[in-house]
């Protein structure tokens, strides 16, 4: 059984993000980029399923520019068997939206024929939380989103997924092939160890262009302007109740 994991290269979670001076987007030059944290969790889950014997091969896939290969190498260094890189150079004015990603991943899935596609629930740069759901819709496969636990039954070809929903935990049962998106509490991703980094050097990354997949990814949206939210004013420490009353009356005008 094969598992396809989709990963995304994003601005590192710990970086303080800034808007470019020309307001066309977020500053990404000279900024640390890493694999999306939820995608790391997805890769980890796929690897654990393979180690438990439920799967034979883990294939990592990404859509992005040449530098996205680094993210694939991270996935390979964690333990994925091989990778697929769909090359696409982003245009800041025409954003690359989840629907386009989903269409590409659908084409890749139809080629690779996995039993399970695992994605992160959302990317930390756009927070869309759409790709997994759209992919399931396009493939007409069942979906288990916000997964906090995944149990595979290869005999019956079913997956039991515990989903984190607003009201608590919802447990659903899916027929394979299915799409699963991962939430934070699913697992703790492993580190890339040196022996695995060494092995990863000989693993294959297949490069494809979106046209080869027969997918049209023209974007219907255009970014006009990107701005920072207005700055919060600092709090003031007052020295007496009288001062507080004075400020409430004269500045805040609530008394």
């Amino acid at each position: 059984m094969k598992i396809l994991v989709a990963v995304k290269r994003v601005v590192d979670y710990a970086v303080k993000v800034r808007v470019r001076p020309d307001r066309t987007g977020v500053e990404t030059a000279n900024i640390k980029m890493s694999m999306n944290p939820f995608c790391e969790i997805a890769v980890e889950e796929a690897l654990r399923l393979r180690e438990a014997g439920a799967a034979a091969e883990v294939v990592a896939a990404t859509v992005g520019p040449a530098q996205s290969a680094d993210t694939l190498r991270t996935a390979l260094a964690m333990g994925a068997d091989r990778a697929v890189h769909v090359l696409h150079d982003p245009d800041p004015a025409r954003p690359f939206l989840p629907l386009a990603v989903a269409k590409i991943l659908r084409a890749v899935a139809l080629q690779e024929k996995p039993s399970l596609v695992i994605l992160g629930k959302q990317a930390i740069d756009d927070d869309c939380n759409q790709t997994g759901q759209m992919l399931a819709g396009l493939l007409q496969w069942p979906q288990g989103t916000f997964a906090s636990k995944v149990i595979l039954d290869t005999e019956k070809q079913k997956a039991t997924v515990e989903q984190e929903v607003d009201g608590g935990i919802e447990t659903i049962c899916l027929d394979l092939p299915a799409v699963i998106t991962t939430d934070l509490r699913l697992n703790q991703p492993r580190y890339a160890t040196l022996p695995n980094i060494m092995k990863a050097k000989s693993k294959v990354i297949k490069k494809i262009a979106p046209e080869d997949l027969g997918v049209d990814i023209r974007s219907d949206m255009e970014v006009i302007e990107v701005n920072e939210p207005p700055k919060r004013k600092a709090g003031v420490i007052l020295s007496s109740v009288d001062e507080l009353l004075d400020k409430l009356k004269n500045e805040a005008r609530v008394l």
């Binding site: 979670y13 710990a14 640390k32 890493s34 944290p37 260094a77 580190y191 890339a192 160890t193 040196l194």
Partner: protein
Amino acid sequence: MARREAARLLHRLGPLAVESPTRGMPHSQHESTNRIVNSCRRFHWIPSLQRPLCGPTTSGGIYEGQSSANKACEVQKRTFGSAATHIQRNPAYSELNSDDVSYFKSVLGENGVVQDEDRVMSCKCRLDGRLAVVPQGGNTGLVGGSVPVYDEVIVGLAGMDKIISFDNVNGILTSEAGCVLENLSKLVENEGFIMPLDLGAKGSCHIGGNISTNAGGLRFIRYGSLHGSVLGLEVVLADGTILDMLTTLRKDNTGYDLKHLFIGSEGSLGVVTKISVLTPAKLPSTNVAFLSCNDYKSCQKLLLAARRSLGEILSAFEFMDHHCIDLAMRHVEGVHNPLPASPYKFYVLIETTGSDESYDKTKLEAFLLRSMEDGLVADGVIAQDISQATNFWQIREGISEASVKVGAVYKYDLSIPVEKLYDIVEEMRCRLGDSAEVLGYGHLGDGNLHLNIVSSKYDDNTLGRIEPFVYEWTSAQRGSISAEHGLGLMKAEKIHYSKSPEAVQLMASIKKLLDPNSILNPYKVLPQSVL
């Protein structure tokens, strides 16, 4: 305005400082030499001892006399642990009285003089006054250098926290001494630079204190000592003279370079009030690797190989033994072991900082893979994102905090030739056996070992087996008994282990020249016998 005030304060001062317990409290959180159990008791002692001295509310503030002096010595001995000699309060210092306090209040304002904290401001000259003073910054020192021994006045510089200027072309920062290091770091990072030093206590320590103690830290291997990074200082001398050496020039060979006297003098020659420091450019790409080695020899060879292969991008090389890792896993919150499967003896953290992400990563990977093939490294991981890198650093930076949580910790900071560095750890293990756990970790790249001995409670017996053996051993290797922590109160009488008598004599002469009444930070840094 502020410095004139500082100057006048010093004129006026004599033995004053009365420290309320809260001020001392952070001490125990930041790697203090105090045993946890006794440190609590200590801070109950001091107020009862000293509160009557200060403030208009008391009956004129007369020193309580010999009995409290004895108690103070006892307390002081237990807290500063080492076989500290019994230091008597020097009767030559005058005592604080209500006139002094009201004078301070007239200068600093009602808010400026508190039993807790004085702000360094003006004070009229009172030439016959001999009130002793302790300059205090963030109070994160580890040798008792910033804490009064008897009733010295604490000159707290937290109020002097203005940033004067930042030259963002050359990266030269000028600020007052009371700025917290972390705040300065954030400020210069916004401009694309970094502070040349970084330590675990960065959230509380002041730059003035860092400079007065010539702090080392995690970036020492790359950016060197503060003697190299500090461009200028403004210092207030004991007689109130304001010594303005606050230049921002990189090169200035005109006369003797006096600022070096004050860097590392631990507040005993003058109070640092303003600083100007050179900040290196912030390089975008940082990579951190966490490795395990089978033995100490491999760690040494790895250091040599790292210097050759990583060269200019190497920015940190820290080592720790497995006892440290176990301790960190047990007591530090939120960390997980990057190498759980391997029960190795030694762990090394390597950080590289450079300008090109992929180039650096390739270089680091190639170096590590080669080291693995050569058998220097048994296993290791490379951080794939900033959170993983932060986790590695939390382990290393958390060891010190974790050791305090066990109970009693005896801390030693030694500079030893790299080949012999770990030998002292093993010797201490032999000497102490099961009574205590010995941890060895530190800045291997600088030849600096932090030897921590932890046990459940403070015990004179254990202390007796550690000291003076550890000092004698270090002295025999021609090492330093205090690599970066300084002498303070704890090691003042031990300077002879690392410095010749002639050198100490000359230090005493300089001290007498700059501070004839010996009011700046008394009982610290130099032994009483030479002063």
